[in-house]
């Protein structure tokens, strides 16, 4: 037995990575009075705050402004045909929002007594890690509990190597030197569609290429169809079932050769190409495999309490598997730390009910299963749809486009899924999250009073439609065999 000195580098909890998973875990641990440190090699706040959720929302606010100006004629404004726009100014605004939030995270961590250690962490043994900075080891830490929250980074496709100049990752797309004339986007998940909407609104000629059989492949088929219709009407080209051939970048742009399923090969020329084909976890160089950590499709394998199977080692957020969303990471942080601390009543994560939001125009928000996935359960379901063309508030703000779809278990009345397209639906989806979390049935939701006029009324009508009694839609003659009750005004 070696004599171990009680040094200042012995912690109860050490978190690796200060993104929305890591910093939340560290603050929660410190709230319990546990001695906590967090190791970060880059900026506090992680990708979400610095290169993801927040800066894109700031840029999209600019896109909304562009839309408002373009649309202003409808409301009687005489807007000149040529309105000046400085992309650099919009990027500057976006970065200012980021730096304000980053300093907020720093203050929260130190204010809660978390020690912030700058550098890269390598696990050197069970409960031990080495922090290096500039290639030199600077600290040896011991901790009873180590939480890996190193996140993920954009996936690189073979033969399409991002160069930061012509071929972009989402990070590059956040700070362009100028507004590009044209942009090809590979991938049509939330990130691809947000950038398509953003650059499309600002005036860039955008082409979206999706390998799977439809755009927004993770969303309900009705959502995909509605959004594609909208994007196309704004001049954004959307192709699904695409096989990308060669991509060649030169000093003036990118040539992309691709085939749409069953069609001829085509080559398009664009100023830039953005690869938005998902993310890969940051698991390298941490010493995980050496300790016996297991992996599932590249992500760290964890149990319901975020344990890796190696004593005292946990993983949360993107590095521990999808959905790769900031709020899922933050929620796992709370589950993991509450469980470590022995708090009573901790509930495990229900991955289906992590809300999914895409901040495009129109906005998309969903929780639970798509209609197709719900049908695959093999249980009787009830589906209600309400179109925003019959929603007064949406029409009054000039955005009567979109719908609310709800899917209930016909037997238990449980909400299986909710899918929304339309104005500010990302702010509304939480209503369905709460309903599901509190185990509301379709009938109990029908009893809730929704304010008038509001877009949220469409949520109510959708539930009523699932029950076969929507008010603001024409009655259907007979229930369809599939028990789908649509209340769409066509």
């Amino acid at each position: 037995m070696t004599r171990t000195s009680v040094s200042s580098d012995a912690f109860d909890v050490v978190v690796i990575g200060a993104g929305p998973g890591g910093y939340v875990a560290a603050i929660r641990a410190a709230q319990y009075g546990l001695r906590t440190a967090i190791v970060e090699r880059g900026e506090l706040g992680g990708v979400c705050l610095n290169w993801g959720c927040i800066p894109t929302k700031a840029l999209l606010h600019g896109a909304d402004t562009a839309h408002a100006i373009a649309d202003a004629g409808r409301y009687g404004f005489d807007v000149p045909a040529e309105v000046g726009f400085d992309m650099q100014q919009l990027v500057k605004f976006s970065r200012s929002v980021v730096s304000r939030l980053v300093s907020g995270v720093s203050a929260l961590l130190t204010g809660n007594g978390v020690e912030v250690i700058r550098g890269s962490a390598v696990l050197s043994g069970k409960g031990e890690l080495t922090v290096t900075a500039d290639g030199q080891p600077i600290r040896e830490l011991q901790a009873d509990h180590i939480i890996v929250a190193t996140g993920a980074r954009p996936r690189v496709l073979p033969g399409i190597t991002p160069d930061g100049d012509r071929i972009w990752t989402s990070t590059d797309a956040l700070s362009p030197k100028k507004l590009p004339e044209s942009l090809v986007i590979i991938g049509s998940g939330a990130i691809g569609i947000e950038f398509a909407s953003l650059y499309g609104a600002l005036g860039t000629e955008v082409t979206v290429l999706e390998a799977l059989d439809r755009v927004l492949p993770a969303e309900d088929a009705a959502v995909s169809a509605a959004v594609v219709r909208q994007l196309r009407s704004r001049g954004i080209r959307c192709e699904a079932g695409v096989t990308v051939g060669t991509v060649t970048a030169d000093s003036t742009g990118v040539s992309t050769t691709f085939t749409v399923a069953g069609g001829a090969s085509e080559t398009i020329r664009s100023e830039h190409l953005l690869v938005a084909a998902g993310v890969v976890p940051n698991t390298e160089g941490l010493g995980l495999a050496e300790l016996g950590v297991g992996f599932e499709r590249g992500f760290i394998a964890i149990d319901e309490w975020c344990r890796t199977g190696v004593v005292g080692l946990y993983a949360i957020g993107d590095v521990a598997g999808g959905p790769c969303l900031a709020h899922k990471a933050s929620h796992e942080a709370l589950i993991c730390v509450d469980h470590i601390a022995g708090a009573p009543g901790v509930r495990q994560l229900d991955r289906w009910f992590v809300p999914r939001c895409t901040y495009s125009r129109p906005q998309i928000a969903s929780i639970g299963r798509t209609e197709q996935q719900a049908r695959a359960l093999g249980r009787p379901i009830e589906v209600g749809v309400f179109d925003l063309a019959a929603n007064g508030k949406a029409l009054a703000q000039g955005e009567g486009i979109g719908f609310v779809k709800t899917i209930f278990d016909a037997e238990s009345g449980e909400l299986l899924g909710a899918h929304m397209v339309g104005p500010e639906v990302t702010e509304l989806i939480e209503g369905f999250s709460i309903a599901h979390g509190l185990e509301a049935t379709a009938e109990s939701l029908a009893e809730i009073i929704f304010p008038h006029p509001s877009v949220s009324e469409a949520m109510h009508e959708s539930v009523l439609a699932a029950l076969g009694r929507a008010i603001h839609s024409m009655p259907t003659t007979a229930p369809t065999p599939s028990q789908t009750r649509t209340a769409q005004l066509v």
């Binding site: 037995m1 070696t2 004599r3 171990t4 000195s5 009680v6 109860d12 319990y32 009075g33 546990l34 001695r35 069970k126 409960g127 009873d144 509990h145 300790l291 016996g292 950590v293 199977g309 190696v310 004593v311 005292g312 470590i340 601390a341 022995g342 708090a343 009573p344």
Partner: protein, 512 residues
């Protein structure tokens, strides 16, 4: 001061609903001064001393140590010896809503320092008796007869109002409620009492802590103006004790002066203070009242050391084989990280089942020794605010890996303060390990009602002479078993440590 005054269970904190009387510090028939500790009262959250709210003479103790009473319940009566017993009895009867003692009935003989006359617990239901209308004391609750009675079950009332009505035998059906659906609140009852000619109890006043504590933290980082910093240093004021009102949140001169005024106001004798200030080096002391945790530790360990005759048996254990086993397990099983303490706890569990006479608790009251089938081992965990001993249950039946995981979990819970009572109560034996601090030898105080505790020191590399006079280097760990001689004899203790040594020196037996 011919006055009869009530002493009640205080309300410490919003959630406190009842308090348990710990012990009386002032005997019946003695006088007390304002601020003196009358008794100890424990709520679910804290145990604290009830300070006398006034100067008085403790005439009656009505509450029994160990019994629990609702907040506001009468636990004692203060009255000068000159006041006749009959008046005191009438006062108590009025408070408890009991029938008034008839004038010619013989007054109970109250002998000073004798046990209190069997006081009815406050939860006792009075037999719908009218409260004594005569001579209500100022500040005492008098329930008018019009409101007296028992409430029907279906009367809507706030929990506090219901408890109050039950305590004072008020029929809530006779009180009109102002809350939703006619719910009766405390203030409704108070209004009804006043309206019907009754009298409300005066709100008890509690003496606030008078002595202001001085901070001892390093104040170098506190933002302060140069004048304020110099003045504070000269007057022995810690800048943490100053409210910062200056620009940019800095402590300014006025703040230091205010702190001097306030801190000095709390000092008993300014003259002495001035004299001390002239001495070049002042050794500042701060008064830290014991936390409830420290109080418990102090009380339990003092009692243990005073009542149980401790003796120690020490031995040295060669840990080489155990350390090798540990290294092998840790190198090959990802899900487990065995510490030396885990090995010791497992070995103790095994030794306790082999020598069950040590796996005991001693019930002092009944002079009984309880011998247990399983070894529930308490593990001492040091926290900034004290010591806690979570229990690893049935160590004899569980694997080394399970024990290791459980201890790690219990230690984290202890630090996060999420241990439940079941997790730290009970236990048949305690292990206290100071090895991680490099301590080479120490002994421990028994954790009652257990009868023995093992003090485990650090392993150190030492030259050892074996039976063949060969000298070799071994890792030696000293352990010291403290036993209660009322229950465990020297030879038994020696057998136990020998068994423990043999297990740790041939550790494979812990794996089966």
């Amino acid at each position: 001061m011919a006055e009869i005054r009530a002493i009640e269970i205080p309300k410490w904190g919003l959630t406190m609903e009842e308090g348990m009387l710990g012990s009386w510090h002032v005997a019946e028939g003695t006088s007390f001064t304002k601020g003196q500790a009358l008794c100890t009262i424990e709520s679910s959250k804290i145990a604290n001393e009830l300070e006398a709210p006034f100067d008085g003479f403790l005439r009656r103790q009505l509450a029994q140590p160990g019994d629990t009473y609702p907040v506001g319940a009468l636990i004692a009566v203060s009255a000068e010896p000159a006041i006749p017993d009959a008046e005191v009895d009438a006062f108590i009867a009025a408070r408890l809503g009991l029938p008034k003692q008839t004038a010619d009935a013989p007054a109970p003989v109250a002998v000073a320092a004798a046990p209190a006359p069997a006081a009815p617990p406050p939860t006792m239901r009075p037999a719908a008796a009218p409260p004594a209308p005569a001579a209500p004391q100022p500040g005492e609750l008098v329930v008018p007869q019009a409101l007296a009675g028992a409430s029907a079950d279906d009367v809507r009332a706030t929990p506090r109002a219901a408890a109050f009505a039950k305590l004072h035998a008020i029929d809530l059906g006779k009180v009109s409620g102002s809350g939703p659906a006619g719910r009766v609140s405390i203030s409704d009852i108070e209004k009804a009492i006043t309206a019907a000619g009754g009298q409300l109890a005066a709100k008890p006043e509690f003496a606030r802590q008078q002595v202001r504590l001085r901070s001892q933290r390093d104040d170098a980082d506190v933002a302060a103006t140069p004048v304020a910093r110099r003045l504070a240093a000269a007057r022995g004021i810690n800048l943490h004790d100053c409210r910062a009102t200056g620009s940019h949140g800095r402590v300014c001169r006025a703040d230091v002066e205010e702190a001097i005024r306030k801190l000095d106001a709390g000092q008993p004798a300014p003259a002495v203070q001035a004299a001390v200030a002239e001495v070049a080096q002042v050794n500042e002391a701060t008064a830290q009242p014991l936390t409830p945790m420290r109080r418990t530790i102090a009380q339990r360990l003092q009692s243990s050391y005073q009542t149980s005759p401790h003796f120690r048996v020490n031995t040295e254990i060669q840990m080489d084989a155990a350390l090798e086993l540990r290294a092998q397990i840790n190198a090959t099983v990802p899900g487990v990280k065995i510490s030396v303490n885990d090995l010791v706890v497992k070995a103790v569990g095994l030794a306790l089942t082999r020598i069950p006479e040590v796996n005991v608790q001693f019930d002092e009251a009944s002079k009984t020794v309880l011998q247990f089938a399983d070894a529930d081992v308490s593990v001492a965990v040091s926290l900034p605010e004290g010591l806690i001993t979570p229990v690893v249950r049935a160590v004899n039946k569980r694997s080394l890996g399970q024990i290791s995981a459980e201890i790690s979990d219990l230690v984290t819970r202890a630090k996060a303060k999420t241990l439940t009572a079941e997790q730290f109560q009970g236990g048949t034996f305690t292990v206290s390990n100071l090895g991680m601090y490099g301590v080479t030898s120490f002994d421990a105080i028994i954790n009652p009602p257990q009868a023995a505790i093992l003090a485990v020191s650090a392993g150190v590399r030492r030259l050892v002479v074996d039976d063949e006079d060969q000298v070799d280097v071994h890792t030696i760990m000293e352990v010291s078993l403290a036993s209660d001689h009322r229950v465990i004899d020297g030879a038994l203790a020696a057998r136990f440590v020998a068994e423990l040594r043999s297990i740790l020196e041939s550790p494979a037996q812990m794996l089966v």
